[in-house]
């Protein structure tokens, strides 16, 4: 399974729709402090089924919805869609025949999130399993948060074991 596109709208500072094509090799992301770079990583972890608002630097999950600026009103909805190339057919049934998967997560203020795969509503659990089978997911050690590197080093041995389970 390959990850090919990320589309974000209403998520944190990305109030207007944004499309990031993810191609093979090394894609660099640059920009001044506070412009929204780490928010992109969080949108990826969120669509993969992240459950902890605190790990997304918020107090509650509604904190991921655009809160407004001095010129724009707050929004009530945030949505992130990740596109997967499934030509190798490794996605679990009933999606194994689809060449492309679009996994979407949408949150409405005070109403919680819904998940869809190719337009069909599914549970959070289904999305989490889809990504776990593909050796990734919201808590994958391959998604390294800012300042997280020294956390890994200073973590207790039991917590570091988790990284091995990913490799198993």
């Amino acid at each position: 399974m390959k990850v090919t596109d990320l589309r974000v709208v209403g998520f944190k500072s990305f109030v207007d729709p944004v499309h990031l094509r993810i191609e093979p090799g090394l894609t660099g992301i640059v920009g001044p402090n506070g412009c929204g770079k780490s928010n992109i990583l969080e949108s990826l972890r969120w669509v993969m089924g992240a459950t902890s608002a605190r790990a997304l630097r918020g107090g509650e999950m509604d904190d991921v919805i655009f809160a407004g600026t001095d010129k724009r009103p707050a929004r009530d909805i945030a949505e992130v869609v990740i596109t997967l190339d499934n030509k190798d057919g490794r996605a679990p049934a009933p999606f194994d025949q689809d060449p492309v998967l679009e996994v979407a997560r949408k949150i409405r203020r005070a109403a919680g999130s819904t998940f869809r795969i190719n337009g069909k509503e599914v549970r959070a659990r289904d999305v989490q399993l889809l990504f776990a089978d593909a050796s990734t997911g919201a808590n994958s050690p391959a998604l390294v948060r800012q300042n997280q590197v020294s956390e890994l080093i200073n973590a207790k041995p039991e917590n570091r074991r988790r990284i091995l389970e990913e490799a198993a």
Partner: protein
Amino acid sequence: GKERLVAAFETVHGHFRVLFEALFDGGSAELRLTESDDPLGGGLEVYACPPGKKLQSLSLMSGGEQALTASALIFAVFLSNPAPICVLDEVDAPLDDSNVDRYCRLLNEMRQRTETRFIVITHHPITMARMDRLFGVTMAERGVSQLVSVDLSRAEALISADA
């Protein structure tokens, strides 16, 4: 169960040693599974020793040395079971220029050995210059993020002044 975990441990341990020595131009490193009564319990101990120094607990290593050691561990896990996507959010921030260079060389090697797609968030000009493509995030309107595709000279301008 336990056999899978031990097999994974052997593979990660092998990759970790090779990557650590490549990153530090020498030295030695190893992983050890700590014993525990619970067969699936126990933790993962990491021992690492930059060239010429004495083996010490990881917490005594410097900020930059920890960042490189952690990168070697993350990439060792990759080589054992490649993830489709990897995002590195300013992992190069604590590194000096010569270690940024080593980090980039390692990234390049990972690109050649795996199918993983890498997204690298950075402020470092050296790292930017090694990317296959660059995107800039700007806030032309304060508080509103936009994404633009940029070339290297535009990227450097982006980080050196208020976008």
